[in-house]
């Protein structure tokens, strides 16, 4: 619920946005980013890729449908702070269990409402992503700006270690807590295909994976064995997987040499599919490079063109870094998909090895399901490999 308690958002350039506090009583610093999705704040809050970031929603009315048990991408919210224009005074949805304010308070994350999020978004668009400080405590503007400026930039920092699981585990489809079934209202099936009878074993690296990636892998015929980001190639090989999956995750992809090495090691021997940070890990494993985008792509309406089929999908995206196309084309891979807004790389495929990856999120959650067939492609690739065809 909104409060009448003041809160402040300070940017490293000295800009101050005032508003009202919700969520936890706290002062935090992080990178300020904006997301243009009109629905799905619960998935965004719980997406581990937002670790270290303070997320601004460009959509105005936030919190309307509260928070429910099913639509979570991690055990709790993962971003550092939450910025909205208006927080709903009430939750209204048959699945809702909790208000956003209560949910964030429970997990120690502060939020600020009544902020002119459009003005903030324009600033980030023009000046680029910025360090910022969000406080729901009584601190001075100067202190807030100082905290923003003194925040350790994410460049060069390993955020993955903070969000990856500590031990390997199996993602169990039957576990009710995993909410593995696709959401369909009663009476609606959309003729969703049945889970393939033949199961393949996939070793999934958790760099901060969204639960829905596991859910989708299961629904597309995989048994999912999750490994921490620090797991070695040998540990994975010991599991004898049919394929390897590289997940999304937060932070600077260049700052993860141990992962690059592990993936380089596995590349020649397994069918591999990477999403988001996983795609950047493929890039680095191949010897390619990534660079930071001015303000990133975060939203559910990003047009991606598949250069092989010529078709455009509307995709969910959440990334601040991108692959340098030249760097991978020199290393045996080719760009398969590009973002039509800015022509940045959205997908690549190795020309010889059964390896492909995408920068966007085919698992959606939140966002459109248009790219769901990529999981089918992955399954077919593994199937072909097992049949000795590739």
């Amino acid at each position: 619920m909104p409060t009448s308690k003041p809160a402040v958002l300070a940017l490293e350039d000295g800009s101050i946005f005032r508003g009202l506090a919700f969520g936890a009583d706290a002062t935090i610093a992080g990178e300020c980013v904006f997301n243009t999705s009109m629905t799905g704040y619960q998935e965004i809050l719980t997406d581990p890729s937002y670790f270290g970031q303070i997320v601004t929603m460009t959509a105005v009315q936030i919190g309307n449908y509260g928070v429910n048990d099913e639509d979570t991408e991690a055990a709790g919210p993962k971003c550092s702070g939450f910025v909205v224009r208006e927080l709903s005074p009430v939750v209204s949805n048959w699945r809702s269990r909790l208000s956003v304010g209560d949910y964030l308070a429970r997990h120690g994350i502060p939020g600020i409402s009544e902020v002119d999020t459009r003005a903030l978004t324009k600033k980030l668009r023009v000046d680029g992503a910025m360090k910022c400080c969000l406080s729901t405590q009584p601190i001075s503007d100067e202190e807030a700006v100082r905290r923003a400026q003194s925040w350790q930039d994410m460049a060069g920092a390993d955020y993955v270690k903070d969000v990856s699981c500590k031990e390997p585990f199996i993602w169990r489809a039957g576990d009710a807590a995993n909410h593995n079934a696709a959401y369909f209202p009663v009476g609606t099936t959309l003729n969703a295909p049945a889970v393939p009878a033949k199961k393949f074993r996939v070793a999934a690296f958790d760099y901060g994976a969204k639960f829905t990636i596991y859910r989708k892998l299961v629904r597309h015929g995989f048994e999912v064995q999750v490994f921490p980001a620090t797991a070695t190639a040998a540990q994975v090989r010991e599991h004898r997987p049919d394929a390897v999956f590289l997940s999304n995750g937060p932070g600077d992809p260049a700052a993860l040499p141990y992962i690059h090495q592990t993936v380089t090691n596995l590349l020649p021997d397994f069918p591999i599919f990477g999403i988001c940070l996983g795609h950047q890990m493929v890039t680095h494993a191949l010897g390619g490079t990534t660079y930071k985008l001015k303000f990133g792509h975060r939203g559910g309406n990003q047009p991606v063109k598949n250069l092989e089929t010529g078709k455009v999908s509307i995709t969910a995206q959440n990334h601040g870094f991108a692959t340098d196309p030249k760097s991978i084309e020199a290393r045996g891979a080719k760009v398969t998909e590009i973002n039509l807004n800015d022509n940045t790389v959205e997908g690549l495929r190795h020309t010889k090895l059964p390896v492909f990856s995408v920068q966007y999120h085919p698992e959606a959650a939140p966002g459109p399901n248009d790219a769901d067939p990529l999981f089918v492609d992955f399954y077919k690739m593994v199937e072909a490999r097992k049949a000795g065809k590739i």
Partner: protein
């Protein structure tokens, strides 16, 4: 056919085919069973296992005989009745979705099978009210991403299954608020009313893109005009809230049922954009132009009257046009959100938002009360406010001491200065000055399709109260503001938008920057590329003035948007706006009885004898002085609201109360009515030096039918040249006297070779687009140029055009939408549209106009003819001609006797009150192809109206005036004797000598 093929249209529109298609693709629909007996009905009820149930008899008129059964007893009764009424003895028993949440998705598909959602819409009014009659909000507010994505995937599955290959579609869903069950209601395999709304709401031009997709482009090949750099293959994301509220015209159809149902009854709509829902809905309520200022804060529906529980429950429990205002009355009477939800099923999220608005009003009131009294105390304690005299504390104190943060929040909640003035007991100008001084200033934000992710190049704005003003710097050209017409309503429709759009085009061509302000999403004026700058704003003084000032316009045009901008003209001028063209004083002079009479006297022109009365008794006395028949009407109304033609004191006594009630406290005008006079509409353009008649339109009906509802012929078909010369002279003299700079419309009446002036409107009239098309001269464009200083001689239009072809105007009146309404042409306008028939032959031009409004003139079959006594002599000639053309004539006693006496063969029918079969039976059986029925009194008798209703319902050609019937005979003759050809309108323009 390109885009959607006939099969797709059939699949989308046929109930059964659609249901099967939906089930095939794994979607849910309302469960239903078709039954033919009570036993089957019982089985169906058991199977559906729930109440309420909807019962829909097959093939009954307007769904009559159906209903909702809440229990077994009601069910048995309605089914039995329905089976009896249905000609095929069949009823549909269907699950009832009343009260479910309702959503719409606007989707597009291209030939590469790429699909995108342009906009999601959530209905404020739940299931049970037609979406066209519902308050709707974009984007959807209460769906999680999972629920939204299922709806999105479902929408794509629907457009693919129905087979719309390229283009846009609208798909409607109902969602059970308790279980989340999602049901497809319907899909429109085409661009719809909602697509227009979605286009304005998002900045994504659906129809324009759909047209390009239809000729083979794919979405990724097209650019997003607004961002320029990004493609059209994306989904707009918005960082504001859009509200649409329908505009109704029940006052025009007092006999019709004003309950909102699944049959659409609204005649227009307003849309507003705000940063939040609260801002958006308050702006939209004041955009409606029905006297409401918003949600409370005075004005119509927003006052402090207390309503009883019974009135509130009734207004909340049954959907109606005022329901939204009763939500506030309910809060004021102590109702909780839950109480209101129980009555309305409006989602609690919306109700809480409305409650926040009401709470803000209360907080402001409380703050005003406490500040007012505490200030009074302080005044004694401190001497600092010596300058504040006791006189000003009353009006200024509440405002002056109110907390600035609260004031800003109130503005962010969409409160207008007028609302604040009412709440804080001040006046608008003071509120405005005070808040500006405190820095609570209007900022304009961009509609950019992308929530600021990319730079936008199209200046499409809405006002808000935020940190940043995004108004783009001027290009150095002079700016002219054009004020649009607001929501469509009866009397003010797209004709005025046509004029505004043409004005914008003409002035852009002439090197001005044009600034459009309007609140109607159904218009071209609110396309982002019509004007240099577009402001989607309510048309109130506060909103319009703010745009004018912030943009630094050099002039504003008020004479193109109909009554809406005219009503603002004087206030705008008083606030320093340079109103260009004819001065507001001249416009007022034409409206003011005394001033106008003086002008006519000076010019030696006549008007019907007239009087003014301020009381019912005076009105009756004055009418007696004039002698009957008289025409009485309230002052200050458009579209003939409350206007009556009365033939006796008894008739006057019966309605006089009603007339005074339209504008309480305002005088009622009484004119001697010129019976059987010929009426003439003249549109004229003048630059102050030169005046040119654009066109003269002779009414087919005699004077007494509102010019908006009259069918007309251009050029005049019965008036002699000398009379037209007199008319021309009078027109030019009036233009000169009123110092018209721009357009002027005059209504004349001619009786016994005498010319009378009925009305002068020194502004663009409803007939301007018609005349412009008839003569091929862009009158509105020329007028806009004139208003900015050009002269007609420089623009090359100095000679009146007399086309050699004929143009006939016919109107569309939505009787079928208002069952029970009186069907007759009269002084109160009720048409919602019009058509033009054009041909070298007058009869064919009339026949084409009739064909365009449907069903068109028949060429064979049976004609039912029944006319009032005074029309009987002329009916003989009509009947004789029809008989010669091979029609069989049917009639009732009076008319039949007269026709038989004239030697015309006629079959007699019983009057409705006498027995059967009667005319209604024959109409229902498809045995009557044309009805000629002229009313015998003030309103048609009950039996006459039954015949007329049946004719409209069964799509039978009907003439309700004797002159209309005569024109119909000419039309039928022309159809029989001549060839109907097709020719582009440009070819007709060869008939016109332009210079």
């Amino acid at each position: 056919m390109i885009g959607a093929k006939p099969l797709a249209i059939a699949k989308g529109e046929d109930r059964q085919l659609f249901k099967e298609a939906m089930l095939k693709i794994g979607l849910d629909v309302a469960r239903s069973r078709m039954v033919k007996s009570m036993a089957e009905a019982q089985a169906a009820a058991d199977e559906l296992a729930m109440f309420p149930l909807i019962i829909r008899p097959s093939f009954t008129l307007g769904g009559s005989g159906g209903g909702i059964a809440y229990n077994k007893e009601e069910f048995d009764r309605i089914v039995a009745n329905g089976l009896d009424l249905s000609p095929v003895h069949e009823v549909l028993v269907e699950e009832c979705l009343l009260g479910w949440k309702e959503f719409e998705m606007e989707v597009m598909r291209d030939h590469k099978d790429q699909c995108v959602v342009i906009c999601s819409i959530e209905n404020f009014d739940p299931m049970g009210v037609h979406t066209g009659d519902s308050i709707t909000v974009a984007p959807a507010m209460t769906l999680t991403d999972k629920e939204f994505q299922v709806m999105r995937d479902a929408s794509f599955a629907v457009i693919r299954e129905i087979g719309v290959e390229t283009g846009g579609s609208n798909i409607q869903f109902a969602v059970d608020p308790v279980t989340g069950r999602m049901v497809v209601i319907e899909m429109n395999p085409r661009v719809s009313r909602s697509s227009a709304l979605a286009s304005k709401a998002t900045g994504f031009p659906i129809a324009k893109i759909a047209a390009k997709l239809a000729v083979g482009y794919s979405l990724d090949e097209l650019r997003n005009d607004i961002t320029r750099l990004t493609p059209a293959s994306f989904e707009p994301t918005i960082d504001y809230v859009v509200t649409k509220i329908p505009r109704f015209a029940f006052e025009k159809f007092p006999d019709a049922d004003a309950t909102l149902t699944s049959a659409m009854k609204s005649v227009g709509e307003a849309m507003a954009i705000g940063r939040t829902f609260k801002e958006s809905i308050q702006k939209c309520l004041r955009s409606l132009e029905i006297g409401a200022r918003g949600f409370g804060g005075g004005g119509k529906h927003g006052g402090d009257d207390q309503f009883g529980e019974e009135a509130i429950n009734q207004k909340l429990g049954t959907p109606n046009a005022e329901r939204i205002f009763y939500i506030r009355h309910a809060f004021r009477a102590g109702y909780s959100v839950e109480d209101i939800f129980d009555l309305t099923k409006i989602d609690p999220w919306f109700l809480h938002q409305m409650r926040q608005i009401w709470e803000m009003e209360e907080e402001l009131k409380a703050s005003a009360a406490s500040e007012g009294s505490s200030r009074g105390n302080e005044a004694g304690a401190s001497n600092s406010s010596l300058l504040t005299s006791a006189a000003t504390t009353g009006s200024r104190s509440a405002l002056a001491t109110i907390d600035t943060t609260l004031l800003r929040r109130a503005k962010q909640f969409g409160f207008s200065d007028a609302q604040l003035a009412h709440i804080l007991k001040s006046d608008m100008a003071t509120v405005r000055a005070e808040r500006k001084q405190r820095g609570v200033k209007t900022t304009y934000r961009l509609v950019d399709t992308c929530a600021a992710e990319f730079e936008a190049f199209t200046p499409y704005y809405y006002s808000s109260y935020g940190d940043e003003n995004e108004v783009m710097p001027p290009k150095g050209k002079k700016k002219i503001m054009i004020i649009g017409g607001g929501p469509n309503r009866i009397g003010q429709g797209i004709e005025f938008d046509y004029c505004c759009v043409h004005a914008s085009f003409a002035l852009r061509e002439a090197g001005f920057e044009t600034v459009m302000v309007n609140s109607n999403p159904e218009t071209v004026s609110t396309d982002y590329d019509t004007s240099d700058r577009l402001y989607f704003e309510p048309l109130t003084l506060e909103d319009v003035l703010e745009v004018y000032q912030q943009e630094g316009c050099v002039g504003a045009i008020v004479q193109f948007g109909g009554q809406t901008p005219l009503n603002l003209a004087s206030a705008l001028k008083a606030n320093g706006v340079n109103v260009i063209g004819t001065s507001p004083e001249s416009i007022d002079a034409a409206e003011d009885r005394k001033l106008f009479a003086a002008i006519l006297d000076k010019l030696g022109l006549k008007q019907p004898a007239n009087r003014t009365a301020l009381s019912e008794a005076k009105a009756i006395a004055r009418a007696g002085e004039l002698g009957y028949p008289v025409l009485v009407r309230p002052s200050f109304v458009l579209g003939g609201r409350g206007m009556f033609i009365l033939y006796s004191e008894e008739e006057l006594k019966a309605v006089v109360r009603q007339v005074f009630d339209v504008m309480p406290g305002k005088p009622v005008l009484i004119d001697k009515f010129l019976e059987d006079a010929i009426e003439l509409d003249v549109d004229c353009i003048s630059d102050g030096e030169t005046s040119v008649v654009g066109g003269m339109l002779e009414h087919i009906e005699y004077a007494g039918v509102h010019s908006g509802d009259a069918s007309m012929v251009m050029p005049p078909h019965t008036l002699p040249a000398e009379m037209l010369a007199t008319v021309r002279k009078a027109t030019y003299e009036l233009a000169r006297e009123l110092k018209v700079v721009g357009l002027m419309n005059i209504q004349f009446a001619i009786k016994d070779s005498e010319l009378y002036v009925l009305e002068v409107n020194p502004r663009a009239s409803r007939t301007v687009p018609f005349v412009a098309k008839a003569i091929g001269v862009p009158l509105a464009k020329l007028a806009a140029r004139i208003m900015t200083g050009a002269k007609l001689k420089d623009l090359g239009f100095t000679r009146e055009q007399t086309p050699k072809h004929w143009c006939v105007k016919e109107v569309v009146i939505p009787y079928v939408r208002f069952p029970g309404a009186t069907i007759a042409l009269g002084p109160e306008m009720r048409s919602t549209g019009e058509v033009m028939g054009i041909d070298d032959d007058r009869g064919l031009a009339f026949a084409k106009a009739q064909a365009a409004v449907k069903p068109g003139l028949p060429q064979k079959g049976n004609v039912f003819i029944s006319v009032k006594d005074t029309d009987k002599p002329r009916a003989i000639e009509i009947a004789r001609s029809l008989a010669q053309f091979g029609f069989t004539l049917y009639s009732t006693s009076g008319t039949a006797k007269v026709l038989a006496a004239a030697g015309i063969e006629v079959k007699r029918l019983a009057k409705i009150t006498e027995g059967r079969p009667n005319a209604v039976d024959l109409i229902k059986n498809g045995q009557i192809q044309m009805v000629i029925n002229t009313p015998g009194g003030l309103v048609p008798r009950r039996d006459e109206n039954a015949i007329r209703s049946a004719a409209y319902a069964h799509n039978v050609c009907i003439m309700t005036t004797i002159t209309g019937a005569e024109a119909a005979v000419q039309g039928v003759r022309a159809l029989k004797e001549k060839h109907v050809g097709v020719r582009p309108i440009q070819k007709y323009m060869g008939n016109v000598d332009l210079v």
